[in-house]
């Protein structure tokens, strides 16, 4: 953990102010995101379109069928990735922990890539039945299956130790990568392109019908993460200490793992790989307001939504009328930004 000395951590009221500020910022960025894009829509037009329901103009369709579902998905995915990142970092008590590290993301990748590559042969009934929903469903199922496997492997007896979770995750990660490699080898030219694009992430093309299940799952998970804040605070003292203070440590770890799996599965299945958000947002928020999860969790949720929305605005507008993959933006902007934050903190603490 990046522990800060007490004097640098704002007091409770200031933290509440900060969270409120993030909430306001989140709304502002949402509005900006709706107003900016390839099709010109002025702010006054936007207000008209959002307040009056009926209109058959192109602008109306763009807002309601393209930008709004996309914005909601972006915010939910950003929030989900950041919240599960915060939970993982707490459970592992390690700032490098990331849902990708313990194999959760790779399960979704395997599911998606298997559906893309085998969609014409082995899994043809599956992909014909579900059409455009096949790849997201495959990814979600893949994520659940792999996570169930990791869960089973790491909960031997009555234990659910962090070290066994980590090792099982790393081993499964390696096996899954091998399967992905095999699928890549047998893929055709077009499938290869598809799976490459999937790996870079995209928030495009999702209708309300498509995103609703993910929105529900992510919201519920975020709620549970929020409720886990207090036990997580105690857990940070150490497993033994938390146990003696009355926290059911094994249950806490299991819950964190399951919600993370659901959250990542629901996000990644629709968007593909979006790196760095789950890793960087909890860090930034911890630098701003300390490690207290009662504030860190909501701040990470809002921060994730804000960061991913900002990145998506750039992805959609930088090379119009074409579009950049979102995963590239988050890594390219998130990385340097994080480094600057880190260096500033060290300087102010006199390192």
């Amino acid at each position: 953990m990046l522990a800060l000395s007490q004097s640098f951590i704002p007091v409770g009221s200031a933290k509440r102010m900060l969270v409120t500020g993030l909430l306001v910022a989140c709304f502002m960025i949402g509005l900006i995101s709706l107003a900016i894009g390839g099709v010109d829509i002025s702010l006054s037009q936007l207000v008209d379109i959002l307040s009056y329901g009926e209109a058959n103009s192109l602008q109306h369709a763009v807002i309601w069928e393209i930008r709004l579902p996309r914005l909601l998905l972006t915010m939910a995915v950003g929030a989900g990735l950041a919240a599960s990142g915060a939970a993982m970092q707490a459970i592992f008590r390690n700032p490098l922990a990331d849902p990708g590290l313990i194999g959760i993301t790779s399960g979704a990748a395997l599911g998606a890539i298997a559906t893309i590559v085998l969609g014409n042969s082995l899994l043809s009934t599956f992909s014909e039945t579900y059409g455009i929903y096949a790849v997201p469903m495959g990814a979600f199922l893949g994520c659940l299956v792999i996570c169930a496997l990791i869960y089973k492997l790491s909960s031997q007896g009555n234990q659910f130790t962090i070290i066994s979770l980590l090792l099982a995750g790393i081993a499964i990660n390696a096996i899954v990568s091998a399967f992905i490699g095999i699928l890549t080898l047998i893929s055709s030219d077009a499938e290869l392109r598809d799976l490459t694009f999937w790996g870079m992430g995209s928030l495009a093309g999702n209708s309300f019908k498509m995103i609703t299940p993910s929105l529900v799952i992510i919201s519920v998970c975020c709620l549970f993460f929020f409720k886990m804040a207090k036990p997580l605070n105690i857990y940070l003292l150490g497993e033994q200490q938390a146990k003696h203070l009355g926290v059911n440590v094994t249950a806490l770890k299991k819950q964190a793992f399951i919600y993370t799996a659901l959250c990542i599965g629901a996000s990644v299945s629709l968007t593909g790989m979006i790196g760095f958000v789950g890793f960087i947002v909890p860090h930034i928020m911890r630098l701003l307001m300390g490690p207290d999860h009662r504030y860190l969790m909501p701040a990470s949720i809002l921060g994730g939504a804000i960061l991913l929305s900002l990145a998506d605005i750039l992805a959609r507008t930088l090379i119009l009328p074409s579009e950049l993959p979102i995963g590239l933006i988050t890594s390219a902007i998130g990385g340097p930004f994080f480094l600057v934050m880190l260096l500033k903190t060290y300087q102010s603490r006199g390192f």
Binding site: G37, G38, L58, I66, R193, D194, F197, A204
Partner: protein, 307 residues
């Protein structure tokens, strides 16, 4: 004379109906004036039809002719951008069979944009069909017939060469030399189609389908008579191909039969492809000649620097 009012109406409406039926261009629905194209061969066909002023946006595979690359870019054919397309205010999206992602196409349809996505993948013998289809959509069917007639010259020249050919050389198509491993065309590839059409035998097709890397020993065992490589980034790969151990001792290198073709020219399945295949057939068979009055008319590439 007293004219009954209903009869004058009757005559008028009948004559209007006749005008409407006899003049197909009165059908305003198919006069698309702002077209977004996803797929290089469609762009090429529209340019060959002389209707390029009706294109407002293209995808990144539309690289011929070079003027096409100056049109607004909507992304790669399998990854086109919804709002990018809509911002061009198009009235038609005309796409190759592999246009996508599917959910983006669906979104464009939901918003009410006319879309026409070709249902079959490209094939060497379906080029004329595709031209007719595009010409019909653009309401320039006569120009489509003219273009098809123009292509027949190439087809006839190809038939002329094939009638003189006595052997069926073993041909290998090398797409690239990624990390020293040649990526070659098996069956079910555009290159396989083209080799077959040029009267060659694609030696890799017996071993696998699709594009696969080829190991050194397999390459030596295959021993192709002709190797086709693709020119890229302004330089030919044939020298590199001749140097790697895979092909160093092959008949192709011994007899100096390592050919370089531009990818979109030979594999694009565009109006230029029949000429490219004719050129290929001439190169892989020995002792054959073009018909007397035949000459290569279309440019290999849009850019002199790129081979």
């Amino acid at each position: 004379m007293k004219v009954k009012p209903w009869s004058s109406h009757f005559v008028l409406s009948i004559s209007l109906l006749c005008v409407f039926l006899l003049n197909p261009s009165a059908n305003a629905e198919s006069n698309y004036e702002r077209i977004v194209v996803s797929g290089g061969s469609i762009t090429e066909i529209i340019y060959a039809l002389g209707e390029q002023s009706r294109i407002v946006g293209v995808d990144s595979t539309s690289v011929f002719p070079v003027q096409a690359t100056e049109k607004a870019q909507v992304g790669y054919v399998r990854n086109i951008n919804v709002e990018g397309v809509l911002s061009l205010n198009p009235d038609l999206l005309l796409g190759e069979a592999d246009s996508g992602p599917d959910k983006v196409i669906q979104q464009l349809k939901n918003i009410g944009l006319s879309t026409h996505i070709f249902s079959e993948n490209d094939h060497f013998f379906a080029i004329e069909k595709k031209i007719s289809k595009v010409a019909k959509l653009l309401n320039v069917e006569q120009k489509g017939r003219d273009l098809n007639a123009y292509i027949q010259t190439d087809r006839k020249a190809l038939a002329h060469i094939l009638s003189q050919a006595t052997t069926k050389p073993n041909v290998l198509f090398v797409l690239s030399l990624k990390a020293g491993q040649p990526l070659v065309a098996g069956s079910d590839t555009s290159a396989h189609d083209v080799i077959k059409a040029a009267g060659g035998h694609n030696v890799a097709s017996a071993h696998f389908s699709g594009w696969k890397p080829l190991s050194t020993e397999a390459a030596i065992a295959i021993n192709p008579d002709v190797i086709i490589t693709m020119g890229r980034h302004g330089k030919s790969q044939s020298l590199d191909v001749a140097k790697i151990p895979h092909f160093k001792y092959s008949n192709a290198v011994k007899n100096n039969k390592v050919l370089t073709f531009n990818g979109s020219y030979l594999l694009g399945m565009s109006p230029r492809t029949p000429q490219a295949v004719t050129e290929l057939a001439k190169a892989i068979h020995s002792g054959v000649s073009y018909p007397n009055n035949y000459r290569l008319r279309a440019a290999q590439t849009s850019d002199k620097k790129a081979l």
